[in-house]
């Protein structure tokens, strides 16, 4: 009845509206289409995965912040040579170590300038004052900057430097001495890490006068190749080349970090060439990216280990025979294709093979022996819960799938595995509290040293911290680590760490599963890029090929 009362379809109006709408869309679409900005040799877009937490690397803990701060904005006293992990001079020209290994005497580079930015124009060049300021800030609890920006020097503490350095002595403008409480083999390597970036003492003074110390973390001044010009959280970070950089200005004039948290989006942006480089491409996309003729790819064995840790405090995992049996029953080789797309190799070591010049040997898969060991230990028909990693990491891109594969393998020896997981923060705090039975986890190297893996993940000290998830405390293992720490000679250290590995393999608190490759794609035309397996990106050497 109402239908009739409304009369005919107002077809003209419908049509008209539709057309207007379509035209509007097309117009906007065409009008707004990006006018291809002429490809400029001096611009570089890096699609990063997140916002930096702060621009002072002393206070950061994540790779994203380091890539946005320590790499473009700062320099360290020393740096690591890519590939060999040997220490190389950077802001320190040379150094001498006393016979006892407790005094490091650095001769500093002269003529290095700090950035002029954020209304600050430095009057002084880089000197021993800056080195002393940088380290005293972290070391001394009564330092006027100690508590600024939250004052949690996590990496400094994690590397044990707060307990190691006794003082930083200024000898002259260009000479500085670090006095240590005891000899430490990893001290120099630790100084190459991001958190040891050199800050400006003069800038600190300037901010104190302006009564805005907090700016130190957000309006950074460093000696690095780039100057921060704009930061919009979750959106963009903009840098300009620092014209007075001590090695000469970078070829890239405008460096842009486009913050793109979603890895699929980053992949798409790389494929459409909206980015010049993307952070952490997911293994799922490696093949497609490698086939794109407009991109160049870089691939290398990473410095990481993915593992399953057994909670050795639990009755069911207290017997090392059980843990060994479970390790033997896992066919690690068969996990590589589904989980890592083949871009990894299986491992039996808790450290990357590169560090201790270990052989890349194949894992022994022996379910028969596993059954025998279980029987011997009286744990036939073992049941346990395995927590699967809820986040994607280079060492474990797909925790759930990996869990399912392990489940199948262990079923063959009569072990029943129940899979479960929590979201990441819950996963971390519950595992720290020791609520897990078996758990997937992994680690990526901080400083290119084996000590960083063994001490952080397997030492007795680490049990309460939530990083030793096996809750494994073995006295003879710890003994080897502590002896090694005091040796300055690398070959002696290596021998001791290798001995500690035999203890590990005998006791098997974890099943180390795989060491994955790291992969980067860069737009074709850029030269000078080198992949750093430690995960940091250095854009200073990059330049466009002459066409």
């Amino acid at each position: 009845m109402y239908k009739n009362s409304f009369g005919k379809v107002n077809s003209i109006k419908f049509y008209f509206f539709g057309i207007i709408f379509m035209i509007g869309l097309v117009f906007l679409n065409l009008g707004c289409q990006k006018k291809q900005i002429a490809s400029d040799d001096s611009r570089f877009v890096y699609c990063t995965e997140g916002s930096p937490s702060i621009f002072n690397p002393q206070l950061a803990t994540d790779g994203t912040s380091f890539n946005a701060s320590s790499q473009p904005l700062y320099n360290r006293l020393v740096t690591l040579e890519l590939g060999t992990f040997k220490v190389k001079p950077e802001l320190a020209e040379s150094w001498k170590i006393n016979a006892a290994g407790t005094e490091y005497h650095f001769k500093l580079r002269s003529g290095v300038l700090f950035h002029t930015n954020h209304g600050f124009a430095p009057q002084k060049k880089f000197s021993s004052q800056d080195v002393a300021f940088t380290f005293n800030r972290m070391l001394k609890k009564d330092h006027s900057y100690h508590k600024v920006n939250g004052g949690s020097y996590e990496y400094f503490k994690a590397m044990g430097l707060d307990k190691l350095i006794s003082e930083v002595k200024i000898v002259s403008e260009t000479e500085v001495v670090f006095v240590l409480k005891r000899p430490s083999a990893t001290f120099l390597k630790n100084l190459s890490m991001d958190f040891a970036s050199i800050l400006s003492a003069e800038y600190a003074q300037y901010l104190t006068q302006k009564n805005s110390k907090d700016q130190m973390g957000f309006k950074p001044i460093g000696t690095g190749p780039f100057i921060l010009t704009e930061y919009r959280k979750d959106s963009i970070i903009r840098y300009a080349s620092f014209q007075n950089y001590y090695k000469g200005p970078a070829k890239i004039k405008d460096l842009i970090y486009a913050i793109t948290p979603n890895s699929l989006t980053r992949f798409q942006k790389m494929q459409t060439l909206e980015c010049d480089l993307i952070a952490e491409p997911s293994p799922v996309h490696w093949e497609t990216l490698s086939k794109n003729p407009k991109l160049q790819t870089f691939k290398q064995d990473g410095l990481n280990v993915g593992y399953i840790a057994f909670n050795t405090k639990l009755e069911k995992f207290s017997d090392s025979r059980v843990r060994r049996a479970l390790s033997l029953a896992m066919n690690k080789e068969s996990y590589l294709n589904p989980i890592f797309k083949g871009e990894a190799h299986s491992t039996s070591y808790p450290v990357p093979y590169q560090f201790l010049s270990l052989e890349k040997r194949k894992h022994i898969y022996n379910p028969e022996e596993a059954k025998r060991l279980l029987k011997e230990a009286g744990q036939e028909g073992l049941k346990f819960k395995l927590w699967t990693l809820p986040v994607s990491r280079p060492y474990m891109p797909n925790g759930k799938k990996f869990g399912e594969l392990v489940q199948q393998d262990l079923k063959k020896i009569g072990v029943e595995v129940e899979l479960m997981t929590y979201d990441w923060p819950t996963y971390l705090s519950k595992s720290r509290a020791g609520e897990h039975e078996a758990i997937q986890m992994g680690w990526t190297s901080d400083n290119g040293d084996a000590e960083n893996f063994l001490q952080t993940l397997l030492s007795c000290d680490a049990v309460g911290a939530g990083s030793n998830l096996a809750q494994w405390c073995n006295k003879s293992f710890d003994e080897f680590l502590n002896t090694a720490e005091a040796k300055v000679d690398d070959s002696e250290r290596e021998a001791l760490y290798k001995k500690s590995l035999t203890v590990f393999n005998k006791d098997q608190p974890w099943v180390p599963v795989a060491q994955s490759k790291v992969f980067r794609v860069l737009k074709k035309g850029w030269l000078g890029y080198s992949l750093n397996p430690l995960g940091t990106e250095n854009f200073y050497p990059l330049s466009k090929a002459a066409l």
Binding site: Q268, E274, L428
Partner: protein, 339 residues
């Protein structure tokens, strides 16, 4: 007659208890979740018991929940201090300002196309009730309503950005164009930049796809509401009277039906805003749009208590304010309820 301002104020005042309740609930819920904001920061590295206690003390997380709430509430009331993000250590309020403007820009643009179109299609449906057009339109809006936003978004990105590449995959503006943060709306700020025209076009170009995706659900809601209310009104006796006294059909439609049919659409403003915000969570995540929705999700995943509190609270406030605005305006649109 009371002024509009008074009515609005009264509405807001009467919703104060619910606003307070939102605040309390969010405060409590986010803290009752397992996981710890400090441990979440340190990830695989872990933290020793002493240090964890030290940081918990520093942030004030060691106190009983109720006392924490009183301290927090006092700061909010006295200084409008919403705390500092545990992740970025920046003021939550500064973050809020940036994210809110990004979301508003996107939502307003989404509404600007979905509202008129939805309204028009709804009317069209009602005018042709039972015909093929009505059925077709119903199917289309049902499709838009039921389709998951993230799926539609992903498909559109795949088609238009990835495959044909006529739109950018994500972002708000071409990274090489620099726009200063004045209003927070890139479409406006663009005019104050060095290259106003180019920046504006680039901002348009970046916002089209997300605005299209975000507008689909409001489009469907408004179409359905308009259809139903138009049909409802056209059954009323006064329409029959109007028709029997020989008024032209056009006039009946535009004056008598349209005006009355608009009332329920108008009052459902709160629902539309709520649907926009829930859509924004997904749309923003998909397009790396730095807005409220994405902020809420990332903060929640990091257990960034202060950011979560502020995000949920202000989203709640937006919905409450919209509803208050709608309610206080109602008297002006419908003179019958004035008294």
């Amino acid at each position: 007659m009371k002024s509009w301002g008074f009515l609005f104020f009264k509405r807001v005042l009467s919703s104060l208890p619910s606003i307070f309740f939102i605040l309390f609930l969010v405060f409590l819920l986010v803290r009752l979740l397992p996981g710890d904001p400090i441990l979440a920061l340190y990830g695989e590295r872990g933290l020793s018991e002493d240090e964890l206690l030290f940081y918990r003390k520093q942030w004030g997380f060691d106190k009983p929940l109720l006392i924490q709430f009183v301290i927090f509430f006092k700061k909010v009331i006295l200084y409008f201090d919403w705390g500092v993000s545990t992740v970025s250590r920046t003021s939550v309020l500064v973050d809020l300002k940036n994210y809110l403007s990004a979301t508003l820009e996107l939502s307003l643009l989404a509404l600007s196309w979905s509202f008129p179109l939805g309204y028009y299609l709804g009317k069209l449906s009602a005018q042709n009730v039972g015909t093929k057009i009505d059925k077709a339109l119903s199917q289309i809006t049902l499709f838009f309503y039921s389709i998951p936003v993230f799926w539609l978004g992903a498909v559109l990105v795949f088609l238009f950005a990835y495959t044909i590449n006529i739109f950018p995959v994500s972002g708000r503006i071409d990274p090489f164009l620099r726009v200063d943060n004045i209003t927070g709306f890139y479409l406006i700020d663009a005019f104050f930049s060095e290259k106003p025209f180019q920046s504006f076009l680039s901002a348009c170009h970046h916002i089209i796809l997300p605005a299209l995706v975000l507008g689909t659900i409001p489009l469907a809601i408004i179409q359905k509401l308009t259809r139903v209310s138009t049909l409802q009104v056209s059954k009323d006796l006064y329409i029959q009277v109007a028709r029997s006294k020989g008024l032209p059909e056009k006039k009946i439609n535009s004056v008598h039906i349209a005006k009355n049919a608009f009332l329920p659409i108008f009052t459902s403003g709160g629902v539309v805003v709520a649907s926009l915000i829930s859509g924004a969570v997904l749309t923003e995540t998909l397009f790396s749009w730095p807005g409220m929705g994405r902020w809420l999700v990332t903060s929640l995943l990091a257990r960034d208590y202060f950011s979560v509190q502020a995000a949920v609270f202000f989203i709640g406030i937006i919905v409450v304010l919209t509803q208050a605005l709608v309610d206080s305006f109602y008297g002006f649109i419908d003179p019958r309820v004035k008294s």
